[in-house]
Symmetry: C2
Subunit: 342 residues, 2 copies
């Protein structure tokens, strides 16, 4: 480490810490610290000398010690509760993109990002994350089925922001899109195209998807048509299987609203395997507007959630909370993106 020759300057091993540089330069650790941070009270000459030494030996202040002293970690936790998808890995491009945007923004602002993919096995997971003291704040990418846990922890821990829905009386700060409005957009677009036999495909249990269906069904009802629902788990294989079964029996829908773009891809496949033409015989619309949506065949009409904006809002409000300022929830408006599948 940094044992040095009895009073001499010859280090027995590589210098790694500020004290080593201090010994080399013949000054105190305090001076080295100040020199590296550009403190004005250390002379230009020593400042340059010390910085050169530090650079030469690849010595940088240890962040752990620094953060301990400064009582701040410089890191934000980014967690992804996977409650209703225990067996599934994080593969949904929507969440991954959101995660990427968030990571970008945080890094830009000088924060480190501590990633924890969480399988909530007991109600303890969030407390552990919060109390470990490794992060200045916590971002939750999705609420999953952990609404209660999040509510409980949020009541005692401020710097916590989740992506997801906001209900009346909710204590935790959530940023999300208006899924009811999104579902309505989808229905209105299909109705405008003259479609009348509407089918919703997806899992209506999670609140986001439930809202999408609610908006969809409400708009349909307003137009005097009924929206059928094909309930299925959201992983591609299950969606595909459910869709194939559905297409084999009963009257064919002439428009399908998939709860997510990934689900829509499975729908597209099942539909084309059934020999049906998209969009002539069946229109398909997705949700999210992930990057790949523009590159399916045919390109997918979808309801866009502005992830860049969502991520920016999450980061902005979280950092406000970290700084002790108040911050409220926000809703971003969904937007219809028309492509060739409708």
């Amino acid at each position: 480490m940094s044992e040095q020759f009895q009073g001499g300057l010859r280090l027995l091993s590589k210098p790694t810490k500020l004290a080593d540089i201090a010994a080399l330069a013949g000054v105190s650790t305090a001076t080295v610290s100040r020199a590296l941070s550009g403190h004005p009270s250390v002379s230009k000459a020593t400042q340059a000398r010390i910085q050169a030494l530090a650079r030469e030996h690849d010595v940088r202040p240890n962040q752990l010690a620094r953060n301990l002293r400064l009582r701040s970690t410089g890191a934000i936790g980014l967690a992804m509760p996977l409650g209703h998808a225990r067996t599934q890995h994080l593969t949904d491009p929507f969440f991954l993109s959101l995660l990427g945007y968030i990571a970008d923004l945080l890094v830009d602002r000088g924060y480190d990002v501590l990633l924890s993919r969480v399988l909530p096995e007991n109600g303890d997971w969030l407390d552990r994350l919060v109390d470990a003291g490794r992060v200045d704040g916590l971002l939750l990418v999705g609420q999953s089925d952990q609404y209660e846990t999040i509510e409980r922890v949020a009541s005692r821990y401020g710097p916590l922001v989740a992506w997801g829905v906001h209900r009346d009386g909710q204590r935790h700060l959530a940023i999300g899109s208006d899924n009811v409005a999104g579902g309505r957009l989808a229905a209105e677009h299909l109705l405008e195209r003259g479609r009348r036999r509407l089918l919703f495909v997806g899992d209506p249990a999670p609140p986001e998807f439930g809202d999408r269906f609610a908006g969809f069904a409400a708009a349909a009802r307003a137009a005097g048509v009924r929206a059928e629902v094909l309930a299925t788990a959201m992983d591609p294989d299950r969606v595909h299987a459910a869709m194939r079964t559905r297409l084999a029996v009963g009257t064919l829908p002439d428009a399908i609203f998939a709860a997510s773009d990934v689900a829509a891809m499975s729908v597209l496949r099942a539909v084309s395997e059934a020999g049906l033409d998209v969009p002539r015989e069946v229109a398909v619309i997705g949700y999210d507007d992930v990057t790949l949506a523009a590159h399916t065949s045919p390109p997918l009409t979808t309801i866009r959630q502005d992830l860049a904006r969502g991520a920016a809002l999450m980061v902005e409000r979280l950092l406000a909370r970290v700084a002790g300022e108040p911050a409220e929830h926000a809703v971003i408006a969904p937007e219809l993106v028309v492509r060739a599948s409708t």
Copy 2:
């Protein structure tokens, strides 16, 4: 924080650290530390009492202080150098899946994951990551165009593992798949299907893609046919545009090998837009076998890279290096997955 009433036990504010619990329990901090870690030298009675107190007040040892004292961080850095894709966000499902697998494995082993998406603006980025002392080891998801930098840093820093190619004489430890073999598999499969007008689509500059094309071309040559190359940047729009242009002129290929599955999706779209049937008129094969590959229409034949295994190898070898043990590079064999697009 933890100021307490002059000699009394009434805390003025919430207890947050072990010393606070110590004051509450009327013991020393040392005893609290030992009690929480289940050290045998503290009596069962006090141990239970202290644990109850800590649980009741949501107090857990501060990880920063703990790690500083223990000279280990309990965290692994996970960085994604984006050299030849400066403007692009991390959206490639291949890298994201790899990232997900790695994060899972590390969390399972009790490590935290410190995520840094890096835009290498100067040769300094990797040194900073290494010398900040926040992580016990570093995982690089992709080498991008930073081969030289990685080589340099690896020569002085052991616990560093990258996903990517291994060249003779390479100093840094890399795990990757045999891209030459993968390219060969693709060509052989297409030739077996009777295809003769082979086209490679993608950017042959990055070493992985270059190898894929090399294997592809070699196998074609061995069969007496020539493999054409359509060089293009890898983002979906550029691939789509390049493909559309290519299909408009010259002789049509009867088989297309895309450098990645994501690129293959754009190829599929361009081909179907040109009114060509897949696979009757044009066969399409991708590379990676990302989750979505099974759900394109038609489902994509592809060369599978076993990411779960790749991630496991990366983590295993990194942790060996962290523990000071030697570890060598590894190559995983690609595998042909036949679906409906060929």
